[in-house]
């Protein structure tokens, strides 16, 4: 409490090696992704001893397309919206981020992932896409599946000295269909519930597998396998009810924050999940 006032230290290394060395040497350092943490710190809390700015490190904001698409950790929402190589689902998610061009130019996919705010868009998207998080440290590199990366609210699997450098997105089979749904309380609200549905079909069109990944309504993103009729092309009221019930059964704990408590999220989370599934079906779009 009575620590002396000190200025926040600021580092902007030019290479990944320097950044990793700083992370190892300075345990108090906070990495800047988009800068949410800097905005919070400028209001006085939490006080941050040191900031690590990644923007000088070459290659961290690039998108590379191959068998998997690799997104640099500092890829901005604007890049996701404009780069042809960006996965379409992430482009859609980036388009729904709260805030104007300044936020989209500044906010990054890696920053959002590492902040691990339950009430955000990116984590559920990455889990639904079966992304792999590429984590670097001085001793080397490791890969963590996105579903294991989001350990708990505001905490990831990143260990001391580690830095998220890239996110790998596997290319889904051509017959895979995605559906996305999002709920928020007006334009300035953070998300209350987000859901990404994935439906894979056999060559004859029958549904092979279906799942929905729920975010914002739960502490960490949760993928729920769904048992859908093979020939399903749209959802009627009974289907929606069954999906909602399956989601409700699968969720052990609902997220609660200043904009919506767990009771409300339990009410609307399954609805949004069902809407995501509807959006992944050929005749699913409803008014």
């Amino acid at each position: 409490m009575t620590q002396a006032f000190t200025r926040t230290r600021y580092h902007a290394p030019a290479t990944l090696g320097e950044a990793l060395a700083l992370l190892t040497d300075d345990p108090d350092v906070t990495v800047i992704g988009g800068g949410t943490i800097v905005m919070a710190a400028s209001a006085g809390v939490p006080r941050t001893a040191a900031l690590l700015d990644l923007h000088r490190i070459p290659g961290l904001a690039e998108i590379q397309q191959g068998v998997t698409t690799t997104l640099g950790a500092t890829t901005t929402y604007t890049r996701l919206l404009t780069a042809p190589a960006a996965p379409p689902l992430l482009r859609r998610i980036a388009g729904g981020i709260t805030g104007g061009p300044q936020i989209r130019n500044q906010g990054t996919i890696g920053g959002s992932a590492c902040y691990a705010n339950p009430a955000s868009d990116i984590p559920a998207g990455l889990v639904a896409l079966d992304a792999t998080m590429v984590v670097d440290r001085q001793e080397g590199q490791r890969r963590v599946p996105a579903r294991d990366f989001f350990a708990e609210p505001f905490r990831t699997d990143l260990q001391a000295g580690e830095l998220l450098t890239a996110i790998e997105i596997p290319t889904p089979p051509p017959a895979t269909r995605w559906g996305h749904a999002k709920l928020k309380h007006g334009e300035s609200s953070w998300p209350i519930a987000v859901a990404v549905a994935r439906i894979d079909r056999r060559p004859d069109g029958r549904i092979a597998s279906a799942s929905v990944t729920l975010g914002a309504a739960v502490p960490t993103p949760l993928t729920i396998a769904l048992d859908l009729p093979e020939h399903l092309t749209e959802l009627d009221r009974d289907h929606r009810r069954l999906i909602a019930a399956a989601v409700d059964r699968a969720v052990e704990q609902w997220w609660s924050d200043a904009l919506a408590d767990d009771v409300h999220r339990r009410r609307v989370g399954p609805v949004i999940a069902a809407r995501a599934v509807a959006a992944a079906l050929p005749n699913g779009h409803r008014t």
């Binding site: 009575t2 002396a4 007006g186 334009e187 408590d261 009410r267």
Partner: protein
């Protein structure tokens, strides 16, 4: 008023668009010190010693001031509430910093001054205060329990004010009424939240021996008088400048402790001292928090005969702003524009352990609107009548105006016509047809709401700083320009442009040749600043009258110089001409020069009288109670009608406003674009009130809505394209026929949206609870599902 009305571009518009407007926060004088306040983490506590030892040990910390020391150095804040309403003897006073009791979480306890803002904030966290926490009283019920701890020594029961507004005999008429509908409206706490918060920079000018204060304030002259009294300086030795404001809406009235304390530190340290409020600090202030129950009586046709209302306001901790008076205004505005002879409103303003109130656009009248419109919607539902028809059957007709109640004299207008225009603008019949064609099992439901809003404006609150009159000086120069010095300020509304239009029209000058000086106590005459939508009605009229005097003088001089008679002189575009022979003319600049150099010397040329000051106040007021006790504080009665269509998602409880139409009548209009802009802004605020804005508290009394992610404001994409129209019914009681233009729309659009949501989800008699958050909409839906299965 012919020839004045025009969409003149704003005089300062380019500065706003280019971003070159210099707001308070854009200035940091050299050598400036910075203030941070130590604020209580407890909502209710007794305080003992304040220990600043560790804070003062920090490098860069210049001073720490606590309540005990401050008491010796600075005068109290004085609340200007009528004794008839408070029941206290003499004015209520408050120390700038508490010496005994903490009354809300976030209350300033001590002032820290340091070389930088961050050192000041850091040191503030090091100040140790001996708090002895008490149970917080977070609502009216808790604060009015028999054993509740008094929050002010002069107000033992925590009821700050109470009153009854009565016309006829509502009780007896209700008993006779064929139908009585009961209802309840709860309006959660919200505030005006301008994007620019409060702040001030105080500088002691040792050479001039004067205090210069730059402050984000609506009332520079009022602030100056307060500061002079509190700091024991002659008023003339305090100079207050209000820079352009990033919005005010009632949020920037003086009466809170931060400005006087910042000035005190500048006086003591003989250095410039600066304080700019943080967002979390600005969200400590409230402006609405009401609970109303009502009974409304009507016949089979929906014609209302009586209304009886019980209105409780939770005004938080006492402060010296005009904010706490708003519930009295809410009470006095019943029954708005409806022809209801028997009315009884019992209202109370109660102090609790929430933050204090400052003003907010609507100024209590939005609460009245929400209650009245909810009651009329109830009548429509009970009798299965169209809500628009219920309004039409009860609104006063134009031939009934002026119409007098115990608190108001409604001046002029055509309420039913405004209703018809609004219904037409909204395509009301198309909406209703669409609604009938909807299948009931659809997830989104369409609802339509209609609301009438009365906005009394131009308050003359005798006994306070907020008076209904204004003074203006108009001065001419040899460039042919007129300079207007006015006591009204512009919080960003563009009042300066309308005032320039009036003076230009009167003097025959282009608008661009008029300069308007506002917000500087050294340069402008005394005035009450900006509040109650009266800048043009009063400040504009005073300038108009001053310019009229000058016009006559210039015409006389021109007649002499052009060898004509005064009645032959016409003025336009900066020239005074002989009507019958326009080639004989003189530009205003040389005319002024002639008066300066030859006035009173050349035969026939009058005195060099090139500066006129006039004071103006509107009629239609009873500012001090008459022999029967009748008090009427508002001279003009603007009104508006709003129609909203919403889509409510019954699975998630979210509301999307699809259509909003409004017709507004604020009397004579000087600049239609500026008036329409006011209406647009008010509607956006009404939408926030209806759907989003809420200052929430933890059970401990700690504020939860500390930033714009936790206090949601509507953004542009939340709003539909607005459909607005104007009616013009000049006031017979004001010089220009103008009425207040700045508040209509907050309550009306909110009430129309609320009515539409309730229409969409088929609410019956469930209480209205705003904002209508998704959780509340779902709860309302559930309550009826439970009822239906029984």
């Amino acid at each position: 008023m012919d020839g004045v009305r025009s969409v003149a571009p704003r005089l300062d518009g380019d500065r706003y668009v280019r971003g070159s407007t210099r707001y308070l926060d854009d200035v940091i004088p050299p050598g400036c010190l910075h203030v941070a306040f130590v604020r209580s983490p407890h909502a209710h506590a007794l305080i003992g010693a304040v220990d600043a030892t560790s804070a003062l040990a920090e490098e860069g910390v210049r001073a720490v001031l606590d309540g005990v020391t401050a008491q010796e150095l600075i005068g109290d804040l004085v609340c200007l509430l009528p004794e008839a309403l408070t029941g206290a003897t003499g004015p209520l006073t408050l120390p700038c910093l508490p010496v005994e009791r903490i009354r809300y979480a976030g209350e300033p306890v001590a002032v820290v001054v340091a070389d930088t803002e961050s050192v000041a904030r850091h040191a503030a966290a090091l100040v140790e205060v001996d708090y002895r926490p008490l149970p917080p009283m977070m609502d009216v019920e808790a604060a009015t329990m028999p054993d509740a701890a008094p929050q002010h020594p002069q107000l033992p029961g925590n009821v700050l004010m109470a009153g009854v507004v009565r016309d006829g005999d509502a009780g007896a008429t209700l008993q006779r009424a064929p139908h009585i509908v009961e209802g309840e409206v709860r309006i959660e706490r919200s505030s005006a939240v301008p994007l620019e918060p409060r702040g001030c920079i105080a500088t002691w000018d040792a050479a001039e021996h004067r205090l210069l204060v730059r402050a984000a304030t609506q009332q520079p002259h009022g602030l100056r008088a307060d500061l002079a009294r509190q700091l024991r300086l002659p008023e003339s030795d305090v100079h207050v400048i209000a820079p352009p404001l990033g919005g005010a809406f009632g949020f920037k009235f003086p009466g809170l402790p931060e400005e006087p304390l910042t000035c005190l530190m500048a006086l003591r340290l003989r250095r410039p001292v600066r304080w700019v409020e943080t967002r979390a600090e600005s969200l400590l202030i409230g402006a609405r928090d009401y609970h109303a129950t009502y009974q409304i009586g009507c016949d089979d046709t929906g014609r209302v005969s009586a209304v009886s209302v019980e209105l409780n306001a939770d005004v938080g901790a006492l402060c010296a702003t005009p904010g706490p008076i708003m519930p009295a205004v809410a009470g006095s505005t019943f029954p708005t524009g409806y022809d209801i002879a028997d009315v009884e409103v019992r209202w109370r303003a109660v102090m609790t352990n929430k933050g204090p109130w400052n003003g907010a656009r609507g100024f209590g009248k939005e609460a009245t609107c929400l209650v009245m419109e909810s009651a009329l919607d109830d009548v429509a539902r009970r009798l299965r009548l169209d809500p628009a028809e219920v309004r039409r059957r009860n609104l006063l007709r134009s031939d009934q105006l002026p119409h007098r109640t115990s608190t108001m004299t409604l001046d002029s207008g055509d309420y039913p016509r405004a209703l018809d225009m609004a219904l037409q603008l909204a395509d009301y019949h198309e909406l209703r047809a669409r609604q009938r064609d909807r299948q009931s099992e659809q997830v989104t439901r369409l609802g339509v709401g209609v609301a009438f809003e009365l906005t009394p404006e131009g308050i003359d609150y005798a006994g306070s700083l907020s008076r209904g009159f204004e003074t203006a000086t108009v001065r001419l120069d040899t460039s042919g320009h007129a300079t207007v010095l006015t006591g009204v300020t512009s919080p960003g509304t563009g009042s300066e442009t309308a005032i320039a239009q009036l003076v230009a029209a009167q003097l025959g000058l282009p608008v661009a040749s008029v300069r308007v000086v506002q917000g500087d106590t050294d340069r402008t005459p005394y005035g009450s600043g900006s509040f109650s939508s009266r800048a043009v009605m009063t400040g504009g009229a005073a300038a108009w009258l001053a310019a009229k005097d000058l016009r006559a003088h210039l015409a006389g001089a021109a007649a002499t110089l052009l060898h004509a008679s005064s009645d032959q002189i016409d003025a336009a575009d900066g020239f005074y001409r002989v009507v019958t022979d326009p080639a004989r003319m003189i530009p205003v600049g040389p005319l002024v020069n002639a008066l300066r150099t030859l006035g009173a010397a050349l035969p026939g040329l009058g005195a060099p009288h090139l500066e006129v000051t006039r004071t103006y106040g509107p009629q239609n007021l009873q500012s001090i109670p008459d022999e029967s006790g009748r008090l009427q504080q508002y001279p003009t009665y603007s009104y508006s009608v709003h129609v909203a269509a919403v889509e409510v998602d019954v699975e998630t409880g979210t509301t999307r406003v699809e259509r909003l139409a409004a017709v507004h009548d604020c009397g004579t209009v000087i600049n239609p674009a500026l008036v329409d802009a006011q209406l647009h802004g008010a509607i956006a605020m009404g939408m926030g009130l209806a759907l989003f804005e809420e200052e929430r508290y933890a059970l401990s009394g700690a504020p939860l809505s500390t930033d714009f992610k936790r206090y949601l404001l509507p953004r542009l994409p939340d709003l539909p394209r607005l459909r607005t129209g104007q009616l013009v019914s000049p006031s017979p009681f004001t010089e220009l026929g103008t009425k207040g233009a700045g508040e209509g729309g907050v309550g009306g659009s909110a009430a129309a949206i609320i009515g539409a949501v309730r229409d969409a989800i088929g609410s019956t008699n469930s209480p209205v609870h705003v904002p209508l958050t998704p959780a509340r909409v779902l709860a309302d839906l559930d309550s009826r599902l439970v009822g239906a299965t029984r």
